[in-house]
């Protein structure tokens, strides 16, 4: 009588990995997998980068980025660029998992589902930060604006975290639909508007050297958004990958 429930327990157990060490090991394994795949193919980063530069080019002509305009619209141009390039990366990163049946493999692996979410999210965040780390100096050189202010970098980091937290979740949803590539921006942009507003306002504040009490509300809003959405994504991710 005893053996049956026991074996059932072993089969049914969804989270054999209760220890923090195991969680971190599976997390780093997933991140490492993404990095290794990217190092070999370089298709995701190169696409995001070229796309980001093209967006800046288009803004250059459509907005007439002369010295006068640059002081006010720089952060807007940067964030629009990051947002557009970001969707490209998020879409590609998840489509890769889906196309080659990799997502099913990941789900079969005896790791916590949240480790998969955080692994993918951190991988996406790294890609996004790399793109930003290249776009910022290029933009600085092209338009001779000094973008290397610690406050601005903090805003960019916080904004990217919020963007990627929601983006990873929604791209996991979008790849499982019929209209996958078109759907991600439509789902994502209405939900990340708080991040974009706060990030643009915060960045403009730092670029124009505004007083810290004017910038602080935006930083706080970014932190609140990041915390809430990382928690929410953590809670609902199970339902998105469940089969």
């Amino acid at each position: 009588m005893q053996p049956i429930p026991q074996t059932e327990n072993q089969v049914m157990r969804k989270e054999p990995t209760l220890g923090l060490g195991q969680f971190i090991r599976s997390l780093t394994a997933i991140i490492w997998k993404d990095m290794a795949a990217e190092l070999r193919s370089r298709e995701l980063l190169s696409a995001m980068l070229v796309f980001a530069l093209l967006v800046i080019l288009i803004f250059n002509f459509s907005l007439e980025l002369d010295a006068q305009a640059r002081t006010t619209v720089t952060s807007g141009v940067l964030w629009a660029t990051f947002a557009f390039a970001g969707t490209l990366g998020l879409n590609r990163s998840m489509a890769m998992e889906k196309d080659r049946g990799c997502l099913d493999g990941l789900l079969l692996a005896p790791v916590d589902r949240s480790a998969i979410y955080f692994g993918k999210a951190i991988g996406n965040l790294i890609f996004m930060l790399i793109v930003e780390a290249i776009v910022l100096p290029v933009y600085s050189v092209l338009y001779s604006v000094n973008l290397f202010k610690p406050g601005l970098l903090l805003v960019i980091l916080l904004g990217s975290i919020g963007y990627v937290a929601v983006g990873t979740l929604l791209s996991t949803m979008a790849v499982q639909t019929r209209t996958r590539d078109v759907l991600l921006p439509i789902l994502l942009f209405p939900l990340v508007i708080p991040v974009l507003i706060a990030a643009v306002k915060g960045s403009t504040g730092f670029l124009q050297g505004a007083a810290s009490e004017d910038i602080l509300p935006w930083i706080n809003l970014l932190i609140v958004y990041d915390v809430i959405f990382v928690a929410a994504a953590f809670m609902v991710f199970d339902y998105i990958v469940e089969e």
């Binding site: 929601v166 929604l170 639909t177 789902l187 508007i193 507003i197 339902y239 998105i240 469940e242």
Partner: protein
């Protein structure tokens, strides 16, 4: 096929009567506003429409949580029904608000927190419907719909707060006026009665339509099952 429930038939009639009364009250009972004139009469149904539009948002999020917890199909149908109804009503609220704004602000649209948030809510509804349209498997469609409803329910208040930090010109009729609001006015008792009655009427319309839509959703489920059975 089960017949239309008696209570639903009664609710239909009550709703129609309420609506006719509400229209009568708006045009005949409520006094003419001194500064804005006739265009102020839009206000009663505008707020009531917006109320129904937001109500659907709440219902969809609650149904989403209930569906994810219980896994019962009826919650999915309820969430979908609420979003479909609110999508239409919110659109009416935006259009009627535009008509009012033209009369009293002199512009069809301004990027004020409420207007912007309203536009984003409408886009969220559209995204929700498009998401559902792109998924064939009913179970997955229900899960994704529930998750998206919950996420947007968290995000939209943050959007509102973030835009609110700019100054608003939208009048706050209920619960204190914002500094610098244009087109604000004090309601006379008759206005307040008309306003409250419109809110009540539109709540009835929402409940009635929701019930009809849930019933339709259940029937659609049934026909889908029958079709699959015949095909097998």
């Amino acid at each position: 096929m089960e017949p239309k429930p008696r209570l639903l038939a009664i609710l239909d009639i009550v709703t129609i009567l309420l609506f006719i009364t509400a229209v009568g009250m708006v045009f005949l009972y409520a006094p003419l506003e001194a500064v804005m004139g006739q265009v102020q009469r839009v206000f009663y149904f505008h707020v009531a429409n917006a109320w129904v539009g937001m109500l659907g948002f709440l219902v969809a999020a609650i149904s989403g949580v209930a569906f994810l917890r219980k896994g019962d199909r009826k919650w999915d149908i309820a969430g979908m029904a609420a979003v479909e109804i609110s999508f239409v009503f919110f659109f009416i609220a935006i259009v009627s608000g535009s008509i009012w704004a033209r009369g009293s602000w002199g512009t069809w649209w301004t990027w004020d927190p409420r207007l912007t948030t309203a536009a984003i809510v409408e886009l969220v509804y559209a995204a929700y419907l498009m998401l559902r349209q792109g998924i064939d498997d009913p179970d997955r469609r229900a899960r994704f719909g529930a998750v998206y409803a919950i996420l947007s329910f968290i995000s939209v208040p943050l959007t509102f707060i973030s835009i609110r930090i700019f100054r608003t010109i939208h009048p706050v009729i209920i619960g204190g006026g914002a500094a610098g609001a244009e087109g604000s006015f004090d309601m006379t008792p008759k206005m307040l009665q008309t306003f409250m009655f419109s809110l009540l009427t539109f709540s009835f319309i929402f409940a009635d339509l929701l019930w009809h839509r849930i019933r339709l959703g259940k029937l659609a489920d049934k026909t889908e099952n029958l079709r699959l059975k015949v095909l097998q």
